[in-house]
């Protein structure tokens, strides 16, 4: 099933990825090719098959409710693009 420019625009928006005007067609073509490859899955009979989200048949381990992490704000924020008074800065969000 081929994807067109507007499909790519929608998906790119959902993924917050800038795709330039000039790239849209090429990307649509690439994605369509990949979807052709993927469509080979249709030949499989999967009626009644349990989806396998995990290779391991294990249950989730539960962790003890204890505070183990200390304040490392300085360290973590030393690699941040923009901070002030301990807060991360982003362009204003209007609610």
């Amino acid at each position: 099933m081929p994807l067109d420019r507007s499909d790519v625009e929608k998906i790119a928006h959902l993924a917050r990825l800038a795709v330039s005007e000039s790239e849209l067609d090429a990307v649509a073509g690439d994605l369509s090719n990949i979807l052709d490859l993927v469509e080979q899955m249709d030949s499989a009979d999967t009626v009644g098959v349990t989806p396998m989200a995990h290779p391991l048949h294990m249950a989730q381990r539960l962790r003890e409710d204890r505070v183990t992490e200390t304040d490392q704000r300085e360290r973590f924020q030393s690699i941040a693009p923009a901070t002030e008074n301990g807060l991360y800065l982003v362009p204003q969000v209007i609610e």
């Binding site: 994807l3 499909d7 790519v8 998906i11 790119a12 959902l14 993924a15 917050r16 990825l17 800038a18 795709v19 990307v27 690439d30 994605l31 090719n33 990949i34 979807l35 052709d36 490859l37 993927v38 469509e39 080979q40 899955m41 030949s43 499989a44 999967t46 098959v49 349990t50 989806p51 396998m52 989200a53 995990h54 290779p55 391991l56 294990m58 989730q60 381990r61 962790r63 490392q72 360290r75 973590f76 030393s78 690699i79 941040a80 693009p81 923009a82 991360y88 982003v90 362009p91 204003q92 969000v93």
Partner: protein, 486 residues
């Protein structure tokens, strides 16, 4: 010194033939001499390496050293290393200094290993040729116009060229095994859950697994001994005891049953590679193993399935790269939308963007059932194929890759063609099984890999089978001629 095994080096260190500092310096010199042409390293941590080496030398004198103490290794640049740049081969993390260590890194530090640096890789582990790295392609030491394979191409090239003794890698669809095959190395992907993923930057969480690229099965055993084990910081880490991987290496393999899936010897496989692999299987017959033809009927579905599951998971895993707390941020975003779109648009390369887009599409409203859910169902079918196989045989063998190392740029224009390089390796990740690739007879001067797949947590058996072959052959000892930079 650079051509010795881990055991030989450990011996030499203890005998005082050379020190870890000597060894480390020797490798640093080789890196300086040869890596310009290969581009296998992104970061070389010279000062830190020598300091570690000094500490290792002191430790060796106390008698409290381990097999890896003082041994110079490299880490794929996907493992977070505290205080050291961790780029994942991407512009997005070009300036990212990791603020903590991956568990794998901690384990090697505790063992006293010396980290020479971080190796080059396909961006965010997405690729089979190490051509998508922000830092440029890696060149195969066997033929510098050819790719080393990917995504752990840097680790493979570095070990093959003897720029380090061994290196860590990660494998999501074949990213350790395929480069191992293309570079003449032993590449081990353990069972999913055997090695902790904490600190290993996630690509596809249910497929990723850390492993190693080494010159031999014995070295791989040494590396796995350090890497394997339960980690409470990883919910998908298996709480299973770690056996002594070295102990089983010499075990008798006569009577073990080898399964050859007919689907792995069909169309698409280079006939010369097929012959090389068949020769290796003959060697196993001579060692007393039984060989049977089997079938893994859903093999052809592995690639389509993978290219839904992996992109879907990665589209979510890579959402955290948004220019807010770390990583690349675009200049002067006018609003939040622009911050996200431009930072991510600028930070990610084309292949990563393609996979994020496909993954986003596969999970989006209206498509989830047809794509993601269907893929997870096929995954079950593929796992079941292996389960049936392991009722009849002890290991499954076949070629690791359909051909030898291809030329740089040859497949880069067509993503789908590139994806087909993983045709024999991908199913293993979908099932979560362990597998190793070992070098067999080369073709046209280029390495060829034999893949051995085992049942869950059967790494000892895999290494045993690999080791026994390596005792009667010497493909794994071959070293490429290194062209001096002059």
């Amino acid at each position: 010194m650079h051509d010795k095994s881990i055991a030989q080096l450990a011996s030499g260190l203890r005998a005082g033939e050379f020190s870890s500092v000597d060894l480390t310096q020797a490798f640093l010199d080789r890196i300086e001499q040869y890596d310009g042409a290969l581009n296998s390293f992104i970061t070389i941590a010279e000062q830190a390496a020598l300091k570690s080496a000094e500490a290792a030398d002191r430790r060796l004198r106390t008698g409290k050293a381990t097999l890896l103490t003082g041994i110079p290794i490299a880490h794929k640049d996907i493992f977070c290393t505290d205080g050291v740049k961790t780029s994942c081969g991407s512009r997005m993390l070009d300036h990212f200094i990791a603020p903590y260590d991956a568990t794998v890194v901690t384990r090697f530090d505790q063992a006293g290993a010396v980290m020479l640096g971080k190796t080059n890789m396909d961006e965010f582990a997405m690729g089979s040729s190490n051509e998508t790295s922000y830092y440029g392609p890696v060149h195969n030491p066997w033929d510098q116009e050819s790719v080393p394979g990917g995504s752990s191409g840097g680790s493979a090239a570095a070990v093959a060229a003897r720029l380090c003794v061994a290196a860590t890698g990660t494998d999501t669809g074949g990213s350790i095994r395929q480069p191992a095959a293309l570079c003449g190395l032993t590449g081990l992907k353990p069972t999913y859950g055997r090695v902790s993923r904490y600190g290993m930057i996630a690509f596809a969480s249910s497929l990723d697994q850390g492993g190693s690229l080494t010159r031999s099965a014995a070295d791989a055993a040494a590396m796995l001994q350090v890497m394997a084990g339960f980690d409470p910081r990883d919910s998908t880490s298996a709480e299973r005891p770690v056996p002594d991987y070295g102990a089983a290496l010499e075990d008798e393999i006569a009577g073990l049953r080898i399964g050859l899936p007919k689907e792995y010897f069909g169309e698409g496989l280079d006939p010369a590679v097929a012959r090389s692999v068949e020769q290796a299987i003959d060697e196993y017959r001579r060692l007393g193993a039984e060989v049977k033809k089997i079938s893994l009927p859903n093999s052809a579905l592995a690639i389509p399935t993978y290219y839904v599951v992996a992109p879907a998971e990665c589209s979510s895993n890579l959402a955290r790269f948004d220019g807010v707390r770390f990583g690349h941020r675009c200049d002067d975003p006018k609003d939040l939308e622009e911050l996200y779109k431009r930072s991510r648009g600028e930070g990610f390369g084309a292949e990563v963007k393609r996979r994020i887009l496909i993954g986003t599409y596969a999970l989006s409203a209206g498509y989830y059932d047809a794509y993601y859910l269907k893929a997870q169902q096929i995954r079950k079918l593929i796992s079941d194929d292996f389960r049936s196989a392991f009722e009849q045989v002890d290991v499954v063998m076949g070629p690791t890759a359909p051909g030898t190392a291809f030329g740089i740029g040859e497949k880069a224009d067509d993503p789908v063609t590139m994806y087909l390089s993983d045709t024999y390796t991908i199913a293993v990740n979908l099932a979560g099984l362990p597998a190793v690739s070992i070098p067999v007879a080369p073709v046209g001067g280029k390495p060829v890999g034999l893949q051995i797949i085992g049942d869950y947590f059967q790494e000892s058996r895999l290494l045993n089978m690999a080791h026994r072959y390596q005792q009667v052959t010497d493909w794994h000892l071959a070293m490429p001629e290194m062209q001096d930079l002059g």
